[in-house]
Symmetry: C2
Subunit: 426 residues, 2 copies
Amino acid sequence: MSILLKNISYLDIKKECIVENKDILIEDNKIVKIGEDLEDLTVDNVIYGNNKLAVPAYVNSHSHLGMTMMRNYADDLDLNTWLNEKIWPFEAKLTDEDIYWASLGSIVENIKSGTSTVCDMYYSMDKVSEAIKKSGIRGVLTRGLMDINGGGEERLEETRELYKNYHNYANGRVKIVPAPHAIYTCSTDYLKEIINMSKEFDSVINIHISETIKEIEDCKETNNMTPVEYLNSIGLFDLKVIGAHCTHITDEEIELVKNKNFYPVYNPSSNLKLASGFTPIDKLLKAGIKVAIGTDGSSSNNNQNMVEEIHIGSIVNKAVELNAEVVPAVEVLKMATVNGAEAMGFDAGSIEEGKLADIQIYDLNSMNFTPNNNLISALCYSASSNDILDLIVDGNLIMKNREILTIDEEYIKYKINKLTKELINR
Amino acid sequence: MSILLKNISYLDIKKECIVENKDILIEDNKIVKIGEDLEDLTVDNVIYGNNKLAVPAYVNSHSHLGMTMMRNYADDLDLNTWLNEKIWPFEAKLTDEDIYWASLGSIVENIKSGTSTVCDMYYSMDKVSEAIKKSGIRGVLTRGLMDINGGGEERLEETRELYKNYHNYANGRVKIVPAPHAIYTCSTDYLKEIINMSKEFDSVINIHISETIKEIEDCKETNNMTPVEYLNSIGLFDLKVIGAHCTHITDEEIELVKNKNFYPVYNPSSNLKLASGFTPIDKLLKAGIKVAIGTDGSSSNNNQNMVEEIHIGSIVNKAVELNAEVVPAVEVLKMATVNGAEAMGFDAGSIEEGKLADIQIYDLNSMNFTPNNNLISALCYSASSNDILDLIVDGNLIMKNREILTIDEEYIKYKINKLTKELINR
């Protein structure tokens, strides 16, 4: 399979500029050549780039794909009511089949907002591996591990099985990664076991960190330390860490982890909607920390639209800092591309020769790009996911003119509606 | 002209519920009947409502339509640099023709995000009146009045001429309203003159209020009062007032105006992006004040997407108050419908017999509405403007299946690109 993007402008995210009118040749799953007047006779597929912009596909560094059926199910509620009275009772009824179709639903939204890669924390991860394979995107899949209500060892064993069966599945597009859910759902001994497993797998580790004020206060009371200090004390930061939320990370904690292999994941919509608070993104960036960005699940967002996430993730910080210069457009685009890809461990996230071919193509004819004053600003501040025409992942065209080619969006919607009705009546 | 919405569900915004499977009959510019099995033989146009939702069209209560050419032109800058070095020099070059086409560009975006009505503050308002007429939407048009650099009387005279020629133009869809730009661009005497003109016209008055901290501090220094106190002292609140932004309105000011005929307009994207701050929406609502909502201009937003505004306008307040229950979905939808229509003085904003027929139709087959757990939540938290299929304004179908029927979107984009290039080279 080869694709030639012919005479197209593209975002060079590392040099923070737009490169105009180049040919980009994709062979197998890689970008092999960027140049001018590249041979187009022998390629399988030519995409003509007039009035289009190639952008590194987005990396959604934190989601719960299986929560689609809880979209718009529990809103305008405080976190405890939301979790205890709505989300957990609903989740208790979810079957493997529900999670498979719900995950495909989330994947549809990710694809349609230009996303090649999702870091998912949920369960039934064998089914999710199949959904990822079928859809053509990449997944860093993490079975949420917890032991506060028992069952910890079974879940660890499940992760071990998943690792054996699905790690590097689907041409390497699936990775299985150990993931303690959070400090408030895992005992210290259990956290240590998971850290050891990650060391054994030579793996990154994925965890929710400092999402709410309650988490910080409880941790201080129990451990006499803040969450990052506590996790550091038990060796978590000896590993590469993907830390979801980090809403209430303190200045001292930032100092502690700034030279570690640590990727906090910003979840602006979810942090706002659940009233968790404002993540200090400006401080994290100024400390040189590579922040990634994600949607969180559709029960708290309430969708999987990475373009919205980038937009909201930028503008909120300006008001928090009362400074319009902070967290500029290009930094948020880095979170959604290079930083995310690096966190996930895929050699992608930028349009360069040798990189994995994960590219989305925007329609510059959209009113959101009219006039064309600054394409980097446009991607962050005015664009809509509807402006994304095509998506290439791992060298395969998986969306063309907004039609997904790998999975059947209409059938997935039908299944989700049907299964949700059945679940609610169970 | 008559339109029958056949067997459609609709949002009853006043009762805060969805009414299922009704027929809605529109004759001339009004909703004349809501019922079951209404006669469909004699109507001009039947829209079949299966898997669709009729929603009151949105009211964008604060914008600057003519700023499209400055979209993505000046971002990530502090307010002074943004205004003095970028926006004002650009604006100085704008011609009547530029503003006409730029306004049509903004109107395209408003229509495509379900908006029937825009409150615009800018200049060349005769041209904007023509743009409103041609597009089919409603406009409350306000020539921004200021006298700090002279020319105050000419601008007042211009407003008088506009009122004579365009007030109630286009089947009453255009209203001309006096509008002092802000306290920092108008002398006290000039403000009093405008207040008198509004009394003479028996008109609402439109003004920017308390947008930035600097405005408050300067006002305290000059007048020994906060902006709302100062405006109250010179009689502004004897009138009906549309007050844009009100970002830094204080508790004392809320007390002062809560029983007045005062409609603050929330501009979440702009307030965040320009680092103006967080408007205390929860406090305003709890004081019983009818808040409206708007996009502001495309130089500071950077688009005219009311669906995004509703989404952002809800979730940000939850984090500000650290309470997920505040500013719930239905309240933000009220801001964008009934409250906005009331502020603008149009008998619209809700789907009821006798109201003006301003209705948008959402596609419930979208993934954003899948599954259908709660349509009110969906409109606020998961919907995209792309889910809006049709728009009816003043009883006329002006968008059908996302194609605008009244103005030529492609030609408008062509003109905006061309005129922007010419302006930058002038």
